[in-house]
């Protein structure tokens, strides 16, 4: 019996006419409407229902029960003591120097977290979110990307930014919302973004970035279709297991699969969404089990094992770009050692003992450190030196950023539209009039670059 033959041609099936991309006639396209399928043959063991092409008939009535299935395994390369367990591959796939750099990046995230968390507690800036326990997912996955790959983040992926070259100065400028902030002081702290590093600005609404990332991946695929000289690029999209309950997660995975988008979805499953434990978040086998339902290649990985995360991400990136492209789902398991944010005291909903246990038992930073020490490329002295120098640098950038002026008041009105509307110009004029009339009520204006002058036409 003839099956539904669909071609999924990419560049080869398109041609240009007067500079415009046209389809080649006579080719069946993946997205062509299903039409006139083959007739059902008598005695066939399967039926061509358009909704499930490969389903066979059965005379056994069996409800498939997820509880009877084994949970998807968690891939790892090294154990909690830094011993290699997957001996089939070179765990490194990178030089010693690079690995030391990853380690230093993880340390930087962790040290910056402590300083920034404390600074927020002192009221130096308004908000902060730490990454403790999840540094390995961020740095390991980022190490597998090219600088041209595009990233969409949730908010707990500082390691991705630092690995891509986002500087401590940029980070501190964002936290203090000063005039050097890429976001012009408009977003809450930790909502980083950088056009230079191909990282779109973080926004607070959960999961909204997931369908956006799918669309961005489609655009990257189209860029290559229109110009094969463009290097292949993917999108890496990060989110937590809690965000995966949003409708946007569903929308995104379904669109990415049906439109064959070169994207790797990275779910950080850290066991908690603020106070909600994963047992209250879903009943299935984590997030990974859902990938299969969308027709997406999926893997679960030990997020505390930076080698495993990197190896999985390298393979995911390769697969995402193969043929007509496709999405991949990676569920990286970890534990949120930290409080959810500076506005949260997590001991209100979980035992301090449990957290201490995780800190002691397993952690991506100590795991890699153990491996490096066994290999003889790291020791206590290097550790002390690294911690001291990173701490010094973070504090230097922290102090410098705190002294920088706020962005001009004018920036409050700009970029809503490309151009200021007449209504906005009137608002600017009005604000200026009020401040001029009551200068004492607005004495802080001098902290903003250009002071009142920035509101002039």
């Amino acid at each position: 019996m003839k099956s539904r033959a669909v071609l999924r041609p990419l560049a080869a099936s398109c041609r240009y006419k007067h500079g415009v991309l046209l389809r080649r006639s006579g080719i069946r396209w993946a997205s062509d409407t299903w039409s006139a399928g083959p007739a059902q043959k008598a005695g066939s063991d399967s039926v061509h229902f358009p909704g499930a092409l490969k389903s066979k008939f059965t005379s056994t009535m069996r409800f498939q029960n997820p509880a009877e299935e084994n949970a998807m395994p968690t891939y790892r390369i090294m154990d909690a003591d830094g011993n290699i367990v997957d001996t089939t591959r070179d765990p490194q796939s990178a030089s010693d120097d690079e690995i030391i750099q990853w380690y230093r990046t993880m340390l930087t995230v962790s040290i910056m977290d402590l300083i920034a968390f404390e600074a927020q507690r002192q009221g130096r800036f308004s908000f902060y979110m730490v990454s403790a326990g999840e540094e390995g997912i961020a740095v390991g996955s980022a190490s597998a990307l090219t600088p041209e790959d595009v990233c969409f983040l949730q908010y707990r992926e500082q390691g991705v930014l630092l690995h891509r070259g986002f500087t401590l100065k940029e980070m501190m400028s964002q936290l203090f919302s000063n005039k050097d902030d890429n976001g012009k002081g408009r977003n809450m702290p930790v909502h980083y973004g950088s056009g230079k590093h191909n990282v779109h600005t973080i926004s607070s609404p959960l999961a909204t970035q997931i369908p956006q990332a799918a669309g961005a991946a489609y655009a990257l695929k189209m860029q290559r279709l229109l110009n094969p000289n463009v290097p292949p690029r993917i999108v890496a999209c990060y989110f937590g297991e809690g965000a995966a309950s949003e409708g946007d997660f569903h929308a995104a995975l379904n669109i990415a699969a049906t439109k064959s988008c070169p994207i790797v979805f990275v779910c950080r499953n850290n066991g908690f969404a603020i106070s909600t434990a994963s047992i209250e978040q879903y009943k299935g086998d984590g997030i990974a089990s859902r990938g299969l339902g969308y027709g997406i290649d999926t893997i679960r990985v030990d997020g505390n094992d930076i080698f495993a995360v990197r190896a999985v991400m390298l393979e995911a990136r390769k697969r995402a770009l193969e043929g007509d492209c496709k999405p991949i789902l990676v569920e990286a398991m970890s534990y949120r050692v930290s409080h959810h944010s500076t506005s949260d005291d997590s001991f209100a909903y979980r035992a301090k003992r449990e957290v201490e246990e995780w800190k002691r038992r397993d952690n991506p930073i100590t795991r890699l450190r153990k491996w490096m020490e066994k290999k003889g490329i790291w020791d206590e002295d290097k550790e002390k030196e690294a911690r001291a120098s990173i701490r010094k640098e973070v504090l230097r950038e922290f102090s410098a950023a705190e002294k920088v002026k706020k962005p001009p008041v004018r920036a409050m009105f700009e970029d809503v539209y490309e151009e200021l509307t007449p209504e906005t110009r009137a608002h600017m004029k009005e604000l200026k009039r009020i401040i001029e009339k009551y200068p004492k009520e607005y004495s802080g204006i001098s902290e903003y670059e250009g002071g009142l002058k920035s509101l002039e036409e």
Binding site: L22, D32, G183, P205, P211, A251
Partner: protein
């Protein structure tokens, strides 16, 4: 979206003939005002290319083709797809031509990589479009009915609207992104095939909100939204006009300015501001009113872009006439008319000779049996200006 809604949409698309018959139900001879608009004669449409010079913004002297509104939208999309490789066209059922035929033959010309169906997920459609635009594509997406845009509200309000603002100096923005959606009453659309949610979009800055009234306008405004606008655009197409409004449309690529109103008919005693479908009723009501009170003349302005709107043209007109009514199909409460009326009263108070009046849909849902009473009609649009013109005389 439930399967029920989806089948309703298909029913709606298949009952196009019915739409027309509803609109042209035999009118009792006693009616003088509430008679059907004769779209074949209304001066708001270019029935021959000879009248095109009356709209100086349109290209002059070139060839034209007679198109209805959905054909003009189709022509606009085709022109944009030809003009720029970055233009992509997608949504639910777009591939076979769309339930209103606005995307007909586009997939066969441009291929399924540029014109395609998506799964039924409004939040996914708009979310994906944001990501595409952020990476330099120009996604022109379709929400099958404006009534179904609400699942995408978060993506529109929190994401797309704020995108350039929050990206700051990173430079990413959504220029070229357009969300098309059929809107407004059709005579039998009931609760979920009649809504006009434009004022909801206007309460959040970031999008330009455009409503065309005619085929030539639809093509020019759509091309402007896709090819020229540096900001994302919500493009609301009055679906009752898809087949009813037919006129000569210039064949070449042309754009019409966004954020600029058009004075359709000059007048001295009253300004009526409207957009989309009610403009036809307004003109009929104006003709009747001017006949009833000889010597009065009423100015009619098509807002075209609902937000950011052309304050200057409206305020100048009201300063001249001293009276104003804003007319729209969507509900009167917190509607577009409220914003315009408040602005007029704030900035042209000393010119006013009567209170600014809002005339919109009644504040209720669009119950199927009463659609003809809910939206402003020619009678209400006659009655209100008449009473306003009486005011203070």
């Amino acid at each position: 979206m439930s399967q029920g809604c989806r089948s309703l949409r298909i029913v709606a698309s298949r009952s196009r003939a019915a739409v027309r018959s509803y609109a042209s139900l035999a009118t009792p001879a006693t009616r003088k005002l509430n008679v059907p608009i004769d779209f074949g004669k209304t001066p708001l449409l270019h029935h021959s290319s000879k009248t095109i010079p009356q709209t100086p913004e349109l290209p002059q002297g070139g060839s034209t083709t007679r198109l209805n509104l959905c054909q003009a939208v189709n022509e606009g999309l085709r022109t944009a797809l030809r003009e720029d490789n970055k233009v992509l066209c997608f949504g639910e059922d777009v591939a076979f031509g769309g339930v209103f035929r606005c995307t007909v033959n586009l997939q066969s010309e441009f291929g399924p990589d540029r014109v395609f169906n998506t799964p039924i997920t409004e939040q996914g459609i708009v979310g994906a479009a944001i990501g595409m635009a952020a990476e330099g594509a120009k996604p022109v997406v379709e929400i099958q009915f404006a009534d179904y845009v609400f699942p995408a509200f978060d993506q529109i309000v929190n994401e797309a609207s704020k995108f350039r603002y929050r990206e700051g100096s990173t430079g990413a923005n959504l220029a070229g992104m357009v969300i098309r959606m059929p809107c407004g009453g059709v005579g039998h659309g009931a609760l979920y095939h009649t809504q006009s949610p434009e004022s909801l979009f206007c309460h959040v800055p970031g999008f330009k909100v455009v409503v065309p009234r005619s085929p030539s306008q639809a093509k020019g405004l759509l091309l402007s939204a896709i090819l020229e606008s540096k900001d994302p655009v919500i493009f609301m197409e009055p679906k009752i006009l898809y087949r009813a409004a037919v006129e000569e449309v210039p064949d070449e690529l042309y754009t019409l300015p966004l954020c600029k109103a058009e004075v359709l008919k000059p007048g001295a005693d009253l300004t009526i501001i409207s957009y989309g479908r009610p403009l036809y009723n307004c003109l009929a009501a104006i003709e009747a009113a001017e006949k009833t009170a000889p010597g009065t003349s009423i100015e009619l302005i098509d807002l075209r872009t609902i937000y950011p709107w052309d304050r200057e043209t409206i305020l100048n007109s009201v300063r001249k006439t001293g009276r104003a009514i804003v007319v729209h199909e969507s509900m009167v409460n917190y509607g577009v008319g409220s914003e315009i009326a408040a602005t007029i009263q704030e900035q042209a108070l000393l010119s006013l000779e009567a209170p600014v009046k809002r005339l919109g849909g009644f504040t209720t849902h669009t119950g199927l049996a009463w659609e003809k009473f809910i939206f402003p009609d020619i009678t209400s649009e006659f009655a209100v200006p008449t009473s306003i013109c009486d005011f203070g005389f």
